[in-house]
């Protein structure tokens, strides 16, 4: 399976264009960690259980994403800096459908 290209703007406003594998059952949060786009300990704190919101990101373009599950929805209801386009990176698996996705990491909280 092919990699997909994702544009990720880090918390300092720097944009990174990265290749994300679609065959390693990774999610967006793990891609950010793999490329070290946010310091360890500031992202993916709960490990990817939609329980900490440290991987909150803003979706910047209209690439279709999987629908939000109840856990993600509830976590975002308690998170800070939430916007209408907020998602949790850990709840978005990397698939071929994500080609061209652009996101921005929400501030650390």
């Amino acid at each position: 399976m092919a990699d997909v290209t994702i544009k990720i703007t880090d918390r300092d406003g720097v944009m990174h264009e990265v290749q994300a594998p679609t065959d390693m059952s990774m999610n967006i949060m793990e891609v950010v960690r793999a490329y070290e786009l946010a310091p360890e300990g500031t992202i993916g704190v709960c490990g990817g259980m939609a329980m900490c919101a440290s991987c909150q990101c803003y979706v910047l373009n209209d690439v279709e994403l999987p629908e939000m599950g109840p856990d993600e929805d509830a976590m975002l209801a308690e998170a800070f800096y939430v916007k209408p386009n907020s998602r949790l990176g850990c709840q978005i698996p990397v698939t071929e459908d994500l080609e061209g996705l652009e996101i921005e990491l929400a501030p650390e909280s």
Partner: protein
Amino acid sequence: MPSKKMISTDILIIGAGPTGLFAVFEAGLLKLKCHIIDALPQPGGQLAELYPKKPIFDIPGFPSVLAGDLVTNLMEQIKQFQPGFTLNEKAETIEKQEDGTFIVTTNKGTKHHAKAVAIAGGLGSFEPRKPIIEDLEFYEDKGVEYFVKDPELFRDKRIVIAGGGDSALDWSIFLSDVAKEVTLVHRRNEFRGALDSVEKVQELKKQGKINLITPAEVTGIRGAEHVEELDIDHDGGHRTIKTDYFIPLFGLSPKLGAIANWGLEIEKNAIKVNNALDYQTNIEGIYAIGDINTYPGKLKLILCGFHEATLMCQSVYNKLNPGKKFVLKYTTVSGVDGFDGTRKEAEKQVVKAIE
């Protein structure tokens, strides 16, 4: 204030997560005593605090084990080595003594004297996640509380709790019997918690014992020297509410905290250790094990923490008993002798002819 008695131990473990707990067992096999400090009120670290009901599938020998059950099992496994616990306190300062021992003092002034220190702090100590409200820090201890440490503080007072999870629900329920007035504010109409907690809040709301404001958010705090009033955005409108206390309960987030100032080499929010030998840090006698350490090829897995804890204990033993002859013992062969006088051992086989 009279000075508290100093707690003395062989290995002081900072962090009561799985790695820290298992270290007690390995130390016990080597007749070393342990004492554990943890910022949370209960042992178990993340497993107990974040996901006690979730399964873990990569503990060797357990096809599946609930995080909470793993903690219970570890506590049972180390029981006979009688570890001491300083819970609800954070390790704040460390002073190395001339004889190479250490004195670690917590944020509450409890002092611990140890021959070695093992930092098993995971991602750090859990700190409350603070909502983004102007002047919030100014009102801390002046009406803003992030924990309900002593419910009596709120007796016959007006309180506003913010949050939509279990702790917001549970404390609203509990304090509805203590406080004069309980208001629960949440950004959504829906709450995420145990079903019976949600139903109980529903019932208390009907009885008028909990004032529910949703969908709403606390956006400002006012008061001369203490919280007096909160600004609330409620369903598109603004309102203010008079209160004595504001308790935001938005969960906890781990921070390295005071340990970052101990002179340890830190890289990527983790403590660098010597993984070729014994997981010791750049300060002799201070070790870092489990998720809090880093070295080339580090994996933040519980099973790796167990291994690191074991090698750490061996290193401490060798340091405390220089030159003393020692061979590795298998628990199956040697059994386990507890500090409490108990002994566990394999059942003896019989040698008997079969006629």
